[in-house]
Each structure stands twice: as structure tokens, then as C-alpha cells.
């Protein structure tokens, strides 16, 4: 693994009101890796993911201690719009905006402006190609994004995230609503994307973590139980709870 660090998380605690979904998390995330995060529901996986681009603070009663560094800078000192552009999210459900296919991808780029029509068209095409959906939509860019199938919508959402030139992509259970074939396509896209991006993947599907993750982290009740190379986690986990979870004994 490269010795630089993308994210450094130190003693991170998060509260929403009285609820304490993340407890004393310490971890590093390296460039160009796929880090899978597994664990049962309510183990704090998604909260952790949403911390990385400050989506958690959209909730009124959010509170945190500890710190998260992105490229060696505390994320609280980074302009939040810049951070969210650099650290993109693909949500659990395909959530296209109520716009055309083209406008969905162009949206983020438009928001920070300064592009003419030609450049925009190029960016959109490029992003759709990277998300492996260009061939399927190139003749219907002006149609509503809601006319696409679920799997296509999810790849459109990936393209939308790519269009704003992030360097980290957060996937929040991106295949939970998809059939096996669409899932395979999304996974294929992820594996190719890791050459240029750092990927954090939260998944409920343990096999998916084993298939695509370089390293795997296991969360339980808001605590990081174990984090190691994916092979190690799945063959010789250090903690009995990790072993129990990946064998399907609970969760």
C-alpha cells in the first residue's frame, strides 16, 4: 500500500441528540484502494461514510468529537462545497434529480459554473462513459432520468458524481436495490474506477465486500472491530465477532 493517506480519522465520536452511532473510531484510508465497510444494520457504517464529506451535519442535532483529516487538512476547515465535490457520494437508492439524463450529469458542473455548452457536453459524455452507461443513453440524453431502469439510474448517479471530478467516491450500499446483473455492472465499474479514485464502499452484502474490497472494515454497534486486508478478514479474522458475522452467525 502507498504510504500517503487520503483520510485520517482520529478518535471520532458522533452523536445525533442522545444517540451515539459512532464510538472512538480510528482509521486511515489510502489512495486508490477500495475500502469495504461491512457490519449489521445500525452499526454506524453509513454515519461513518456520511462523515467523510460532512453530510451528517445537515441534521440539526449533530455533534462530534475527534477529527477527520482529508489530504492532511481537518475537514471542518475545508470549504464544504469543495469537500463534497472532491468526495462524492453514490446513495443506496438510485436517486436521479427530476431533470433530463444530460442535466443530471451536468448539474454539479453547472453549479460551480464557468463552462460553455461544448465543454459541458464533453464532460457529460466522458462521465457517462466512465460509468459504463454511455452506450445505453447516448441517443436519449434529453429524456427524463426517471425513464431509466434501476441499474441504469444507479450508473447515471455514478456518472453524475464523476462529472464533478472527485478523487474519493463513497458508495452507500449502492446495489441494495439492484438485481444481480446490474450489481455485477456496478461492481465492474467500481473495480475500474479504483485506478483513478479512492473508493469507500458500505455494503450489507458480505460477498460483495470480498469480491471488490482491497481492505475490509467490520463495524459493530458503532465501533470499528477490525480492519485488515480483505483476504485476511475473510480467511483468518482476528476477532471472533468478525468471524461470526462473515459466517452469517448474526447480523
Amino acid at each position: 500500500m502507498v504510504n500517503t493517506t487520503k483520510f485520517k480519522i482520529n478518535n471520532l465520536n458522533i452523536w445525533f441528540g442522545a444517540i451515539h452511532p459512532l464510538k472512538e473510531v480510528n482509521m486511515q484510508i489510502f489512495p486508490n484502494e477500495i475500502l469495504s465497510i461491512i457490519g449489521p444494520s445500525n452499526s454506524g457504517k453509513t454515519t461513518f461514510l456520511r462523515m467523510l464529506n460532512r453530510l451528517n451535519e445537515l441534521q440539526d442535532n449533530f455533534k462530534m468529537t475527534g477529527f477527520v483529516e482529508y489530504d492532511k487538512k481537518d475537514i471542518r476547515n475545508i470549504d464544504v462545497e469543495f469537500l463534497r465535490r472532491k468526495v462524492g457520494t453514490v446513495f443506496a437508492l438510485p436517486l436521479p434529480l427530476p431533470l433530463s439524463i444530460f442535466e443530471n450529469v451536468a448539474y454539479g458542473v453547472r453549479m460551480y459554473g464557468g463552462r460553455n455548452k461544448k465543454e459541458l457536453e464533453l464532460i457529460v459524455e466522458e462521465a457517462l462513459k466512465k460509468a459504463y452507461i454511455w452506450e445505453e443513453v447516448k441517443d436519449r440524453l434529453q429524456e427524463s432520468a426517471f425513464k431509466l431502469s434501476g441499474g441504469q439510474q444507479q450508473r447515471l448517479c455514478i456518472a453524475r458524481t464523476l462529472a464533478v471530478e472527485p478523487d474519493v467516491i463513497l458508495f452507500d450500499e449502492p446495489c441494495s436495490g439492484l438485481d444481480p446483473i446490474s450489481t455485477a455492472k456496478v461492481e465492474e465499474a467500481m473495480l475500474k474506477l479504483k485506478q483513478n479514485y479512492t473508493i469507500v464502499l458500505v455494503t450489507n452484502n458480505v460477498k460483495q465486500a470480498a469480491r471488490v474490497g482491497d481492505r475490509t472494515a467490520f463495524f459493530l454497534s458503532g465501533e470499528l472491530i477490525e480492519l485488515d486486508k480483505t483476504d485476511k478478514i475473510f480467511t483468518a479474522p482476528a476477532d471472533v465477532r468478525t468471524d461470526g458475522y462473515i459466517r452469517g452467525k448474526f447480523g
Binding site: 453530510l55 436517486l95 427530476p98 431533470l99 454539479g108 453549479m111 432520468a145 426517471f146 464533478v164
Partner: protein
């Protein structure tokens, strides 16, 4: 078994009866007004000033006055109402104070219109020294319809799915960009509904304009927003109760014009709303 069926039939009957009770009076009002008002409608009635102590001639100044008042009220109330709604739904934190404010606004919609009239008299006519004028009347009507516009706009904004906002923010859009490009466009149909309700109410109310603008008899058009003006609802009141021997068809004709005006404004808004709905992509 048979018992439940009979209960169901009886229930359906009463539900249907209740619906009928609502529809029949409305239908009758429209039929009677159209029947009795149509004979009065001609070009002179619509374009001439009232003559012979309002017993003949037309109602043109009252039509124009009402249009001015409704237009003025909307120009004043829509931007302010919309901005307030955006603040309440998007920016204000959920706490005791914001709940009190929201509750107060909902309750303001139920305040009797004559109270708004008195308020307008004290604030705009006397204190601001606008006198009885189109300006004072428009502002009074505007204040009266503000709660309607705020409440319906707020509901329209809040009905835009939260996930759209989150997606927009996660792409690096600012909060205002999210509101401007995602929330507002999808809330426009609902906001227009509020505006329609406001328009109809502003056009039809008599009490708020009674002290603030309405002229008893002014057979010319207003020259500026500081002029008094005639208005259809007040004119209708005057010729129905204050002036003896006014031909019935003139009264019903005036009512018909007012009704048509309100329905026409509603129609325009409904068409705009329909156009936006068709563009909606979810």
C-alpha cells in the same frame, strides 16, 4: 355479513348526500347569477362609467379598480410570502420559536377580513399617510393574503423530497443553489395554488377595501396609485343596499362580472400549473 353490507350502503348514501349538499348550492348560485346577470352584459356595461346614480351605464371603473387592487396585492404579497416560506421551510431550525411562528401564520389566515380592514386603515391610511388609495388598499389586501401564500408555499416546498436536496448538496451545490435549482422549480405548482387562492380572496373581499380604498361613486379611472378607486365587491354592496331602485339585472350583472373575473384568474393559474406539472419528471 348482510349487516355489514347494509351498513356500508347506508354509509355510502350519507357520504353521497353530503357531497350533493356541497355541490347543489354552488351550482345554484352560479346558475342564478348567470341567468339573472346575462341580460345586463353588453359592451356598454363593461366599458362605460356608471351613470344616473349608478342606475344605468357600466361598471368599467370598478372592473379596473379590482384589477389594480388584486395586481397590487399579488405584487406585494407573492415575493414577501415566498421569501418567508423559503426561510421557514429551508433555513429556520425546528424549535419552539419557529413552531410558534408557523402556528401564528396559519391562524392569521383565519382572522376576519374586517379586522385586516381596520388594521390597514390605522397603518397605511392614517399612520403612513397614504390616505384612502389604491396603494393602501393593495397593501391591506396583500397582508390579508400573505398567510395563505406563506402556508401553501411552505407546504409546496416541504413536499419536495428531502433526497433531492441531499443529492444536490452532495454534488457540491450550495444551499441556495439547491433551493434555487432543485427545490423551487419543483414547488412552483403548489406555490401557484396558493397564489390562486390568494387572488380569489383578494378579488372578492369587501371589508379590507371598505376603509382603505373603495370609492362609493367615482365615475372616472384612477390616475395614480394614490387615487381612490371603485372596486367590484364594494360596488355590488353599494348598488344592492345603499342605492334605491337599482335594476336587478345590473346587480346580478355586476356579480357575474366579478365571478367571471375570479374564475378567469383561476383558470390562467390552473393552466400555468398544469404546464409545470407536465414538465415534472418524477
Amino acid at each position: 355479513m348482510r349487516n355489514t353490507k347494509r351498513t356500508q350502503k347506508i354509509a355510502f348514501f350519507f357520504l353521497f348526500l353530503a357531497t350533493l349538499l356541497v355541490v347543489v348550492p354552488v351550482g345554484m348560485i352560479v346558475v342564478i347569477i348567470v341567468q339573472k346577470g346575462i341580460p345586463a352584459i353588453n359592451w356598454q356595461f363593461l366599458t362605460d362609467v356608471p351613470r344616473q346614480g349608478m342606475r344605468s351605464g357600466g361598471i368599467f371603473p370598478a372592473i379596473i379598480g379590482t384589477l389594480y387592487l388584486v395586481g397590487g396585492a399579488i405584487i406585494f404579497a407573492l415575493p414577501i410570502g415566498l421569501l418567508a416560506a423559503i426561510y421557514l421551510s429551508e433555513y429556520s431550525k425546528e424549535n419552539f420559536l419557529s413552531r410558534i411562528i408557523k402556528l401564528a401564520i396559519v391562524n392569521l389566515a383565519g382572522v376576519p377580513s374586517v379586522v385586516y380592514g381596520l388594521f390597514g386603515l390605522a397603518l397605511f391610511v392614517v399612520f403612513c399617510k397614504f390616505g384612502a388609495s389604491i396603494l393602501a388598499g393593495s397593501l391591506t389586501l396583500g397582508i390579508m393574503i400573505l398567510p395563505i401564500i406563506i402556508t401553501t408555499s411552505r407546504e409546496a416546498l416541504e413536499s419536495v423530497p428531502y433526497s433531492f436536496r441531499e443529492v444536490s448538496l452532495s454534488l457540491g451545490a450550495s444551499k441556495w443553489q439547491t433551493i434555487r435549482h432543485i427545490v423551487l422549480p419543483n414547488a412552483i405548482p403548489g406555490i401557484l395554488t396558493g397564489t390562486i387562492l390568494g387572488l380569489g380572496r383578494a378579488a372578492g373581499e369587501t371589508a379590507p377595501i371598505l376603509f382603505t380604498v373603495a370609492a362609493f361613486y367615482l365615475p372616472r379611472l384612477p390616475k395614480s396609485i394614490f387615487d381612490q378607486a371603485m372596486a367590484l365587491p364594494y360596488h355590488l354592496y353599494v348598488i344592492s343596499t345603499q342605492v334605491p331602485n337599482v335594476d336587478e339585472k345590473i346587480r346580478y350583472g355586476t356579480a357575474l362580472v366579478l365571478l367571471t373575473l375570479v374564475l378567469f384568474m383561476n383558470l390562467v393559474a390552473i393552466i400555468i400549473r398544469y404546464k409545470f406539472r407536465k414538465k415534472k419528471k418524477w
